[in-house]
Symmetry: C2
Subunit: 130 residues, 2 copies
DNA sequence: ATAATGTGTAACCGTACAGTTACGTGATTA
DNA sequence: TAATCACGTAACTGTACGGTTACACATTAT
């Protein structure tokens, strides 16, 4: 079950989880398109794409506006900034050499692991606070 | 139904779709930890976390090694590079001002929309293959 | 008015989570 | 050896997708 409160970037991450939806975004980078034309670019049925578009809308990754009987979809890259921000915290990690990472990790966890016994972390105490 | 072939970064995006799993990664940035201690940091049951860890493992976002009766999990930021690469293509978009984006989009789609009739994209031709 | 287009939605099916409790298993401790 | 610890896994439940077909609805075109 999903958590009761679904955050903003939650929807974003969730929307990006599907390869078809990412492909739709990739497509829209080339310019806005009506739903039907987007659907034409994929090997699935039009309603399937329609539902993908609904999720992308829900995540604010696309904007839609009517144009005659078309519904034109436009990329909105704004929510991707949140992803970028999240990733930012990890950049330093993959810039570290693996050896450095290993060292860092070892020193960090050293206090819990070096002593065979006394270090048994009391798992339960820290459980209530989140 | 999932596509037959699930790509590498597919697993990654999918693993990141869940807020708990992202939180686990955030936790591991501070240093490796055994499964139980990770579980202690969340309001869900230990088996639930165990399953999250399985997905993270499947996405290669964490490494696991046994240490006595503990299983220590370590962050592996490597797969996140793929996400970063994907995002890279969108950076230019959110750096553009909205007006510029609008202009770009309009000129791009102009050929299909400016002529009322003749431009009707033949959606069906590419659709027949499914 | 009627027909055709372009889209979204409803209803239905199968699968993959996310969570739970109960249980199995290897490593430590008594 | 027996008890305990730290996990993973199995079995089960509910929900959200991802896909399909059938249909409703609004907007042109005849």
């Amino acid at each position: 079950m999903r958590h009761p409160s679904v955050t903003y970037s939650d929807r974003t991450f969730q929307a990006l989880a599907d390869p078809t939806r990412r492909a739709v975004l990739d497509l829209l980078r080339r310019g806005s398109q009506p739903a039907g034309e987007i659907a034409g670019a994929f090997p699935v049925s039009r309603p399937a794409i329609s539902k993908h578009l609904r999720l992308l809308r829900r995540a604010h990754l696309v904007h839609e506006h009517r144009e005659g009987r078309h519904r034109v979809y436009q990329l909105n890259p704004e929510p991707l900034r949140a992803i970028d921000t999240w990733l930012e915290q990890y950049r330093s990690f993959w810039k570290m050499s693996l050896t450095n990472l290993k060292t860092f990790v070892e020193t960090e966890y050293a206090k819990e692991t070096t002593q065979p016994r006394a270090a048994k972390p009391n798992t339960k105490t820290s459980k209530g606070d989140r």
